[in-house]
Structures are given as C-alpha cells and as structure tokens.
C-alpha cells in the first residue's frame, strides 16, 4: 500500500469521489430491498444504465476538487455569488417547489404543471408560451449562461442584457404561475412562481453587479453593508414597495371556493352588498391611497433621515395596518353571513394579497420607526457606540452588517414574516408550523440554556416536555385520576403549574448528577428521559393511562369577563399564541444571557474549576440552568398537549431528545437565533421532503443533510459570537488532538 500510486492524493480523491457516486446511486431511486433477495436493491442501483450518470457526477466532483485552485480566482469576481444563488433558487423552484396546489395538475411541480398547461386552451397566451417547449428551462439556461459569460469575460454589455433578461424572466415566471392559478380558479398557496421571481431578480442583480463592478474581487459583505448604510430603513421601504405592489395590483384578496379575486375584483364583488362603508372605501380607493402615502412618507423619511417624518410614517403604517385588518374582518364576516359559496367565516378565505398588504404596511411602519429611533448624525459616523447593544447580543447574524439600524431591519423583516406569512400558507404548513416547528423552536430555546450556555449535555430533555404535557393532562382532567372538578383548569392556566413542576423535576434531576462531567452527565440524563417515558408507559397505579394516553385535553380558552376567546381547530389561533409565548421567552432569555447568571454559565462552560475559583457557586448555577431549561419545555408541553388534544408516551421517545440536541447544535450552540433557526430548519426539512423523496427515505436524507452541515459548517447555522471566538483560536488548545492532527488528504478536506 505504500506504493506511490495508491498514496497519490489524486488517486485517493478519485476513489473518494467514486465512493460518493456509488453511495448516491444507492440513495436515489425507488429500489427497495427484499427479505428474499438481499442483492436486489444493489443490482437495481448499480447494474442499471443510470449508474453512468452517478459516475459522471463523481468525476465532475473530482474535476472540481482537482482544479479548484484554477477556478478560485474566477469565483472571487463580483457577481459570482449572487449568480450561483439566483441560479440555484430558480432551479429549486422549477424542480422542488409546487407551482400549483390543485390536484388536477399532477404533483403540482413545474414540469407537471408545464406539461398540462402547454396543452390547455384558454390559458393566457404568454403563460402558455412560458410553459411550452421547455421555454422556462431555456430562459433559465440563457439568463444564467449570459450572466456567467459576462462575469468570465468581463463583458458589460452582455451583463446588461442578462440583467434585463433576469427581470423579464422573473416577472414572466411569476405572472405565468398567476395565470395558471386564475385559470384553475382554486385557492392556491404554491410558492414556485414567487421563488422563481426572487431567483431571477437575484440573477439580474448578479449581472448588474458585474456590469457596475469596479474591482476584480467581490466583497459581498461590504457591499450589503453599504447598501444597508446608505439610507437607514431604505431596505425596508423597498421591501414594502415590492410586497405592497404585488398585494394591491396582482395578488388574491378574497378566495372563496372557486375564485381568486384581486383587490379590484373584491371591490366589485362586494359592491352594493352592504359592506361597511369604511371597508368598502378601503377596497375602492383608501387602500391604494394609504399605501402610496405610507410608502412616500417612509421613503422620504428614510432618504432625508428625518425623524419626525419617520414617526409620521410609523403612525401612518400602523393606522393603515389596522384599517386593513378591519376591512379583512368586515368582508369575510359579511361573505360568510351572506352565504357566499365556500365562505366559512370571519378571517377565512382571505387570499395572500390582504396579508401581504398588512406585511407591507408593517414593514413600512418599521422603516419609519428605524429612522425615527436612529441616533443623531454624529453618532452614526462613529457607529461603534450605537451598535454596542447589538454587539453584545449572542449571535453573529448581524455581526458583519454593522450599518446603523441593520439589526432592526432584520428584526422587522423576521417579525413581518412571522406575523403575516403563516395566514397565506396552506393548511398543511400551518399545521406543521404549530404542531412541530413552533413547539420544537420553544424546546430548542430551552435546551440552548442547558447545552449552549451552561455547556451541560442533556440527552433526556424531552422528559421535561413529557412532564409538562402530563401535568396539563392532569390539571385539565384528561387522566384517570382527576383533580376535583372545580379545580379543572384551562390549559393556559396550567402553564404556571407546568413550569413549577418542571422546575422541580429539573432540580431533582440536577441535584444528584451535578458531580458528573460531560459525557457521564449525558448518559444519566438520557437514562432520566427513558425512565420518565417507561414509567408513563408502564403506568404504575394507573396514573398516566399507559400507552392509551390521555385523550380529550381541552383547547385553551380565555374568559375574562367580557373578553372571551376560545381556541379550536384553527391553526392560526395557535400560531399567534405560540408566537406570543416564543417572544416572551426570547425576550426573557436575552436579558438572562447578558445577566450575571448568563456570564456565570459561560464561565462554567469554559472552565468549571476556574469558575469555581472566581467565586461562582457552580452547583447553584448548574441547577438553575437545568431548571430554567426544563421550565421552558414545560411551557412547550402545555401548548402541545392542548393543541393536539391527545398525548401518549410515544411522543416522548429518546429519539426526540437526541433530535432537540441536534437542532441546537445544528443551529449554533449558545446562540438564541441559532437554536431557533436550527429547530425551524430541521423540523421544516422532513415535512418539505415529503414532496421530494419517498416517505421511507426521509430520515436518510435528513441524516445526510445534518452530516454535510456539520462537515461544512461545524459551528452551526448562526454561530454564537462567544463560541465563534473559540473556534477561531482563542481556545484552540483545549482540544489538543485537533492541533496535533497534520494536514492531509480527506474527502472533506477541501471545499
């Protein structure tokens, strides 16, 4: 084996790439093994013509890796990154995303929709053209190719052409999808056209960057920074403009069964039907006027950095937002009362347009607020003091973007999405959002305290979630042993009890195990999780109802005198409740992280002995970490139990504990946005994969994604600032093997 040939890096790399191709061939495809013939799936994968494709992929990867040094200079040119991002985005939209939700279009993806649409008479001719003869694909190839050629050859004229093509292509794609939707006439939530629009615009931006480039080396971060710093709040204004224009001109406002009505359609629809005057005026003209007024005010405020104008824009946006909501309520309520076909009640049947208008007003108001709360001119020039609060925050999300107000810009965008995107999503995604994503985000926030901040590996975290859920079940009378009936609580009132009991459980687990270090603690917590689950399942004394579980946990309700609010089957109600819970927890935990306790956690995480020497009561601090983390998952448990209405021990298996740890690490240990993003991405992914790969293979793909993520971004999606510092070398010697390992060849050594 010591011969020159086999130890040559090229040979090793080639072998690695071939292995990759082989594994890919095994992963992709419908082949399933059989108990009678273990070689069947192998043969299906390897001895079929398509293996050639995979070998070609392997060779391509090999070539890319080998010639990487030659490629790199080109990759640094301005425009390359957006070009790649845009190309991939359009590609994704045309391969993975749905272009129609209607069951009549096959699986609803681009190719399926295109093949149907190309043969449909009566579809708008431009849309028909777009879908026929692979034009969508050709357009993508041409735009991308022109952009790439422009970058490679530094041809500005070509770049301009590509930019124009990009804009045209994006709009064409978007309107074509809209045409299909109008044609089919069913409520539609598919994202393909919108994502394609974004992708094409990114391609256009890439081409523009090339056309206007001054240097040979791209500095995306500095560029974005300049963009953000140019006029504070301006990105929000632009976003508001785009969203608002789509909302008021093109998107669906009202979609009872069998119709998609834009704003003007909606106005005509309700004309003379007794809609409250304000709402009718809003539909007729007030909406447009409000939008333009808010937009202009916000833009002017941002451009002039005028504080008072900023306040005016914020106020105007808020008023407009409220008016929009009132209109939406009025018209849906009326439609349901009047018995419009398919109208089911207030807040139902709203298209995305109405919500997008809300989002636009929200964002514009945000822009005004950003301007209004900006420091004086002098402060901005030396932006360091103004940025001090942001710098102290745990994440690196806004680290690179130091422009004044940029963290607020991000915040407003995220809030607008969280508030106004879910109503426009499909029922499926709404359900996923409230029954999986939201809950696991809450759990990840809790576990982040234990794992990320205090550095204690907890593999049994789900036990607290179980305790919270069962506490709720008990207090609401869904278990065999019930509290006296006058004590039956609404699930929301169970929250403090669940928190208290989880706090106790956290302390009970923590107290005997605090002497243990890292991995010993991990196995003990794992054992704790299993003990809780098995006990719930074995049901000693019939306290938990065993595997039959607790059925009939009521939905939350608030009854405070005149205010009465009852949650039911509607997912959105749960979403806003969850959002409130998450926001409260996040606000509390942000304070906590910067507090004395947060710093004590960091200290014991880094070096327990030294922390003790500096006078930190490590026992107390660790116990607090356990207890606080546990209480968060108690809240999640309450929410979960009352939302699903049924729990059984199967919900609390060990695998879920491990997954929560994976979410936190995947997102970025110790970073609140990281933990949330990690949980959101990894709970979203399996549901997204439902449309992409056979259900049986979902976990395999998730495993592969997690693995790749850890290889290429070991610190997580949004690494914590403190942790990032460790990675960059402050604490490098703490893992001595790492430093000692010599450089060599490896599959993941490059890229």
């Amino acid at each position: 084996m010591k011969t020159g040939f086999f130890s040559s890096p090229h040979v090793k790399r080639l072998a690695g790439c071939m292995a990759l191709a082989f594994v890919l061939a095994l992963m992709i495809g419908n082949q399933e093994g059989s108990q009678d013939d273990y070689g069947l799936a192998f043969r299906q994968a390897i001895f079929s013509p398509r293996i050639i494709l995979f070998i070609a992929i392997g060779l391509l990867v090999f070539a890319a890796m080998t010639f990487w040094p030659y490629i790199t200079p080109y990759l640094l040119r301005p425009g390359v990154r957006p070009l790649a991002v845009g190309g991939i985005t359009v590609l994704v939209s045309q391969t993975l995303l749905k272009w129609s939700d209607d069951g009549r279009t096959g699986n609803g993806k681009f190719n399926s929709v295109a093949s149907k649409a190309a043969n449909t008479d009566g579809l708008a001719p431009m849309a028909k053209l777009f879908f026929s003869n692979y034009l969508g694909w050709i357009l993508l190839l041409v735009t991308f190719g022109l952009g790439a050629a422009a970058i490679l050859l530094s041809l500005r004229a070509l770049a301009w052409v590509a930019a124009v093509l990009g804009v045209v292509g994006g709009i064409w794609a978007y309107t074509s999808q809209a045409a299909v939707r109008d044609f089919l006439g069913t409520p539609d939530h598919s994202t393909g056209g919108g994502v394609a629009l974004i992708g094409y615009l990114t391609l256009a931006a890439a081409a523009l960057a090339t056309a206007l480039a001054t240097g040979d080396i791209a500095d995306t971060r500095a560029f974005v920074n300049r963009l953000l710093a140019w006029r504070p709040g301006m990105p929000l204004v632009v976003l508001g403009l785009i969203v608002g224009v789509i909302a008021f001109v093109q998107a669906t406002w009202f979609s009872p069964q069998g119709s998609n009505q834009t704003l003007t359609d909606t106005k005509n629809f309700f004309q003379g039907n007794g809609l409250a005057n304000l709402a009718y005026q809003y539909l007729a003209w007030l909406g447009y006027v409000l939008f333009i007024a808010t937009l202009l005010t916000a833009a002017a405020a941002s451009y002039l950095r005028h504080k008072i104008l900023g306040w005016v824009a914020a106020g105007l946006g808020t008023v407009a937002l409220l008016l929009s909501l009132i209109t939406m309520y009025d018209m849906t309520d009326l439609a349901a009362a009047a018995g419009v076909d398919g109208a089911t009640g207030p807040w139902q049947n709203l298209g995305s347009g109405a919500w997008m208008a809300c989002a636009a007003f929200f964002v514009l108001a945000g822009a005004g607020l950003v301007v209004a709360t900006l420091g004086g001119r002098d402060e901005q020039d030396e932006s360091a003091p103004a940025e001090a609060p942001a710098a102290r925050s745990s994440d690196t999300l806004s680290r690179g973007f130091s422009a004044p107000g940029s963290s607020k810009v991000f915040l407003f965008v995220i809030l607008a999405t969280a508030l106004f995107y879910p109503p426009t999503a499909t029922g499926f995604w709404q359900k996923v959002l409230v029954s999986e994503i939201g809950i696991y985000v809450l759990l990840a926030i809790g576990l982040n305290v234990v794992v990320g901040w205090a550095g204690l590996l907890d593999l049994g975290f789900i036990a607290f979630y179980a305790i919270g859920s069962y506490t709720t079940a008990y207090l609401t009378g869904a278990l065999p042993y019930k509290p006296p009936s006058f004590l039956h609580l609404s699930p929301l009132l169970a929250i403090p009890f669940a928190i208290a009991i989880c706090l106790l459980a956290g302390v009970a687990l923590g107290a005997p195990t605090l002497r243990l270090r890292g991995d010993y603690l991990a196995i003990v917590t794992l054992g704790f999780g299993e003990i809780i689950r098995i006990t719930a399942n074995n049901n000693p004394g019939n306290i938990t109802n065993g595997p039959k579980g607790a059925f009939g946990i009521p939905h939350p309700r608030i009854e405070l005198g005149p205010i009465k609010f009852v949650w039911g089957q509607n997912n959105l109600q749960y979403w806003y409740l969850l959002l409130v819970l998450i926001v409260i927890v996040v606000l509390l935990f942000r304070r906590l992280e910067a507090s004395r306790l947060g710093r004590a956690w960091a200290a014991i995480r880094e070096d327990e002995v030294a922390a003790q020497a500096t006078g930190i009561n490590t026992t107390r601090v660790k116990l607090l970490a356990f207890a606080i983390g546990a209480s968060t998952s108690g809240v999640a448990g309450v929410f979960f139990a009352s939302q699903i209405g049924y729990i059984n021990p199967e919900n609390f298996v060990l695998n879920n504990s491990i997954l929560v740890v994976a979410y936190v690490v995947f997102g970025g240990m110790g970073s609140l946005p990281g933990a949330m993003a990690g949980a959101a991405v990894l709970t979203w992914l399996p549901e997204f994969l439902k449309d992409q790969v056979p259900a049986e293979d979902r976990q395999m793909w998730i495993g592969a994604v997690v693995l790749l993520m850890m290889i290429f971004r070991p610190a997580g999606l949004i690494p914590a600032k403190r942790r990032a510092a460790e990675l960059r070398g402050l604490n490098r010697s703490s893992s001595a093997e790492v430093g000692a390992v010599p450089e060599g060849e490896g599959m993941g050594a490059r890229a």
Partner: protein, 399 residues
C-alpha cells in the same frame, strides 16, 4: 458614487416591475358574487384520490409500508381494470406512527381537494390525535389496524375499522383459556397500545373467571426474550397469552422453545401472520391465535393477492397487508357506489362507506353504526400446524 448609480438602477427596475405586473394583470376580469371560473381544462375526467395515513418512516415504518403497498396495489388493480369510470390516485401521508406528527399528515390529506377517503391511521394513538379532524372535514376513514377498544366511543364522526377491537378478541380468548381449567395464566404485553389493550382484556376476564394471572410486559423493541420466557417457565403457569405483534411473538416463541416451555401458548390478531410462522419456524407450532377474521382459506382471492403483492413489491404481504387491501377495496367500492348514485363528494362517499358491503379476503367489510365491523363478535381460533396457520373453528365452540 456606486451606491447612487445602483439606486438609480433599482428605481428603474422597480418601475419596470410595476409596469409589467400591471400590464399582465389588466386582462383579468372581475366576477360577481358566487362566480369565478372553475373550468378544469388542465385535466380530463374525474380523478379521485385515496389517502393513506400511516408510519412510512421511523421505527414502525415496516407496518406502514405493508399497508401502503397493499393499498397501492388495490388502487393500481382498480385502475388497471378500467371499468371505474374515473381515475384513482393514492396519496401517501406519513405520520411516523406518532400522534404528534399525525395532525400534519391529516392536514396534508385534507389539503388535496380530490381526496375522498382515508385508509388509516395505522395506529390507535394517531387515530385519537386526528379522528376529530377527519370527522369535522366529513372525510371517511377506514383503518386497517387501529384496534384500540375505545376508539369507537370517542365520537369520531367518520371513523371505521375493518378489524375487531381488542376487547372482543381478548375477552373471548380469556373465556376459552378459562374453559381449559387452568389455574394460572401468564399474560405478557408488548407495552404498545394494541398489546396492552388485548392483554388487559384477557387479564380482567380471566380474573373474573377466577384464574390467577401473572402479568408482565416486554418492550416491543426488545429482541432478547430470554428473561421473559424464563419467567413464564419458572412461574409454572399453564398457559401464556401474548398481546403484541407477530415479529416479537416469533422471538418470544423461539425463546420459549429454548427454555422448553410446554404450556398453551396463544396470541391475538396481531400475531396471526406469515411473519410469525416464518420467524418462529418450528417454535411456532402449537401456538393459538384468536382472531375476529374470516378463515383465509375460504377466500379464494387471498392467494391471488399474495401472488400479486409479491410480484409488485418483491416481498410477500406481511402484517396487516391483507387488511389494508380489503379496506382500500371497500373504499373503492364505496366511491363506485357513490358515483353510480350521482356525484362523488366527501359526503356521498362517507354515506356509501357507511352502507358498504364488500367481500374482502380477510373479512366481509360491513360497518356498524359506530364504525365497528359488523359481526365482529364472532372470533375464531387458529393454530399453527407444521408451519401453517389453520383454522380450528369458532372460539366460543372450543373447550
């Protein structure tokens, strides 16, 4: 400098966007109350979808795969026959067998407006989590395997199942064991909803008949049944009843043989399958199974089903495949009935399912008012002889 020019371009681009979106939209015409174009030029003929909800990933995925394959086979066969007058599609919704994932799977099913009925959920837990969701949507649900004895009492408006529930099976099985004159019976469950349900029913009925019961449970994920088998032997019990599924029962049977236990060994519906006979081999000979199902030898097309399934999926049908096949065919029958009576809607299919009478390969599919299989109180006894499951007769006639 550069930023300024960029800004200009952005403004120009935005104007372009505005203009184009405005143009593209100008063709559209408004429509009055109740209007709206709903022509379906994109497709022709009726396409109806049958949804399957069950565990297609996760630890219990094989059970779901067994069922979904059978459902797919039924759909494909119905389409291939060509006399439906409509096209059937199968929508696979994966709920991981987990009650917390079931609502999302149900939402996925409900989102497709062509879905006319659901096969599943496979597990009682998942059924409890989504029974009301389907019920409120008026979507007919036929589960091939959720057998928990309380499901029919929970007020799910559209719930049906084609297998008898745990209580019936367990109670009659216990009566039979009691008639044997045994003093002591060992009851083991697999800690699952189904297994524990059956075992509880057996235990309480035996106790009522004055038989001493020793109760134990072994996690279904365990592969080592040594200690459990040894306990059965050491206890000196005259019979063992296992509440659980076939694969585990096969392991248990082997372990019992290893300690040469000689008492009566019996299991429920979940055990009676080829998975058990194949896995246990000789050790399975002499096991009894209580099952509220037809004798498979009566149904001649059961063999055909086995052959078709094996051909399509390279593997013989397994636990609950025949039940899922029957459930799907019954649902297809109901859609046909609905079509012949007029329109196919969720409501008409539901009505047709309530009235369906379909001769399947495991049972005659017919539902009572609460969605329970009609005539489910007739439980038969089967036994394994020389590696084959053979019918002994009706359980109540056995002594």
């Amino acid at each position: 400098m550069r930023t300024q020019s960029l800004a200009k371009i952005a403004v120009v681009g935005m104007v372009g966007v505005l203009a184009l979106t405005a143009c593209s939209n100008s063709k559209k015409s408004g429509s009055g109350l109740g209007g709206g174009a709903s022509s379906s030029g994109a497709t022709s003929g009726g396409t109806y979808t049958i949804a399957f909800e069950g565990p297609l990933s996760g630890d219990n995925q094989q059970l779901g795969i067994n069922e979904v394959n059978a459902a797919e086979l039924a759909v494909n066969q119905a389409n291939a026959k060509g006399d439906l007058g409509f096209t059937l599609k199968l929508l696979k919704a994966d709920d991981v067998g987990d009650p917390s994932k079931a609502p999302a799977a149900a939402a996925q099913v409900l989102q497709d407006n062509t879905v006319m009925g659901v096969i599943g959920p496979s597990f009682s837990g998942a059924t409890k989590a989504v029974g009301n969701t389907y019920g409120d949507a008026g979507l007919a649900v036929i589960t091939p395997s959720a057998s928990n004895g309380t499901l029919q009492t929970l007020g799910f408006k559209t719930f049906h199942r084609i297998i008898p529930n745990d209580n019936v099976e367990g109670t009659q099985g216990a009566d039979w064991l009691a008639r044997k004159g045994l003093k002591k019976v060992f009851v083991v469950d697999d800690q699952s909803d189904y297994g524990k349900g059956v075992a509880d029913a057996v235990q309480s009925e035996l106790k009522a008949k004055g038989v001493t019961v020793t109760r134990s449970s072994v996690d279904a994920k365990t592969t080592d049944y040594g200690a459990a088998a040894q306990s059965v032997k050491s206890s000196g019990a005259g019979a063992l009843f296992y509440g659980g599924y076939d694969a585990q029962a096969a392991l248990f049977a082997k372990a019992l043989k290893a300690v040469s236990y000689t008492g009566i060994t019996a299991g429920g519906n979940g055990v009676k399958s080829s998975v058990f006979t194949k896995g246990a081999g000789d050790a399975g000979n002499g096991w009894y199974f209580t099952c509220g199902c037809l004798d498979a030898t009566i149904a001649t097309n059961a063999k055909q089903f086995t052959a078709d399934y094996t051909k399509a999926y390279n593997t013989p049908p397994s636990t609950y495949s025949p039940e899922a096949f029957d459930a799907t065919n019954a649902l297809i029958q109901a859609i046909k009935d609905a079509k012949s009576k007029g329109s196919v809607t969720k409501a008409s299919v539901l009505a047709a399912v309530n009235a369906v009478d379909y001769q399947g390969i495991t049972t005659e599919v017919k539902f009572g008012a609460d969605g329970e299989p009609a005539g489910a109180t007739t439980v038969s006894l089967y036994t394994q002889k020389a590696g084959q499951i053979v019918s002994v007769g009706l359980l109540k006639d056995q002594s």
